[in-house]
């Protein structure tokens, strides 16, 4: 039985796993956006936090996926559910690109534009929301894009701790030495990653055009 026949016969189960997968990626990316972007802004405001925050996010990034799942198992409430565990791990991984891109995006806004705004009597808050964030949006979306694509791939590992998702097929296929089964998980995961990449790439391009002009 080849992979396409398998998919055709098991498409309801495949859809379930795809939804599990998307749920994990969606929730974790959303959480990471909610934490990462404010952290990125904070870091531009207090440069002293710059190194510790980015450093911590960097260190998290270097922990291998399976090991991170293992570390998190003893955490109360989180460790009790495989899905919560997976979401937390994916959130932690997604933080680095978000913090770094928010920071870089805001720092990259043309100095003369900021100075003109300040010189005209804009408050820090007005500068942030009316000038810096809108002009950094393209770069920030690029961070969301990287984070999402990484998450789609990493979420396959979540099956190892029983959180479901498309990794189910991959791990089942590995233990049964069945390449078709592995592909039944890997191909949809790759398609998801590509779709996320293309759609967020489109958004980035649309919103990022401002920044290109800002740096003329």
């Amino acid at each position: 039985m080849n992979v396409f026949q398998f998919i055709a016969q098991n498409y309801t189960e495949l859809l379930d796993h795809t939804f599990e997968h998307l749920r994990m990626v969606g929730i974790s990316t959303l959480l990471a956006v909610m934490v990462g972007i404010p952290l990125g802004i904070l870091v531009t405001r207090w440069p002293a936090l710059d190194k510790p925050v980015l450093g911590t996010a960097n260190v998290i990034q270097t922990i291998p996926g399976l090991a991170l799942f293992g570390f998190l198992i003893p955490v109360p409430w989180i460790g009790a559910s495989a899905e919560r565990l997976a979401i937390l791990a994916l959130t932690l991984y997604a933080l680095l690109p978000l913090i770094r891109n928010t920071h870089a995006g805001i720092k990259g806004v043309d100095k003369s534009v900021i100075e003109a705004g300040r010189g005209m009597g804009m408050t820090d808050r007005q500068l942030l929301f009316q000038v810096q964030l809108p002009l950094a949006l393209g770069v920030i979306i690029a961070g969301v894009r990287v984070a999402t694509v990484i998450s789609v791939g990493l979420a396959t590992i979540a099956a190892a701790i029983g959180a479901g998702g498309l990794g189910e097929y991959i791990f089942r296929g590995l233990s049964m030495v069945n390449n078709q089964l592995i592909l039944a998980g890997a191909i949809p995961a790759a398609v998801l990653a590509l779709l996320a990449d293309v759609s967020l790439g489109w958004l980035e391009k649309r919103l990022g055009s401002n920044l290109v002009v800002a740096q003329q």
């Binding site: 534009v113 100075e115 003109a116 705004g117 010189g119 005209m120 009597g121 009316q130 002009v213 800002a214």
Partner: protein, 261 residues
Amino acid sequence: MSADLSSNGLAIEFRNVSYSFGAGTELISDLNLQVRRTETLVLLGRSGSGKTTTLKLINALASPTSGEILVEGRPTTQWDPIRLRRGIGYVIQDAGLFPHFTVERNVALVPKIENWPSDRIHKRVTELLQVVGLDANLASRYPRELSGGQRQRVGVARALAADPPILLMDEPFGALDPITRAELQREFLALQKRLEKTVVFVTHDLREALLLGTRIALMEAGKLVAALSPEEFVNSSDPMVKKYLDAFGSLPTNNGTRGLA
């Protein structure tokens, strides 16, 4: 900003002002300078002479290390910096327009953060575009869709939006081609005659200084050399002034040079 009648016709006054950046390097030393109401004072000097810093001390983008700057009779340190800046128009080289705002929104910036009603803002923007000689149908354009001269006009309109009594202009025409520059200089003169603002204008271009200034303050290495009327300036026997005049005498054209003040 309400005019303070007790301040003897001075809009801005520098009293023994020094400014250092970080440890040691003194960018402005012991500056004493007075700007009278409705005059156009040109700060002239080479790159790095402290002209731009002097300007930024007026709208509190920089704070003096010692001494004080009085704006409308009140030290800048006692002003709420936000209120102070909203009462001072600011025009910089390349205009510093917000690239994600249309011309209309750029010009409306200060009225908007001052919470003017939107019909009043719209009326004011239309009026200002006319004042600076821009076609009304440019209002919906983005800065990237304009020429350098048009952008600079928008920059001037934006600075005038809330009708501030004081205008600070930092090499506003420095990045323009010679023809557009001459055009804008002429219009600036006509505009200034009508509006009677107190203007502090930074340039390194002697011709521009002589053309636009009612007084010229020559700066060198963070110090004020002399503050003279254009006639006094060209006839001055001060060695530094002579040096500046000579430098221009030997240059057939100064057009197209860009300063890094």
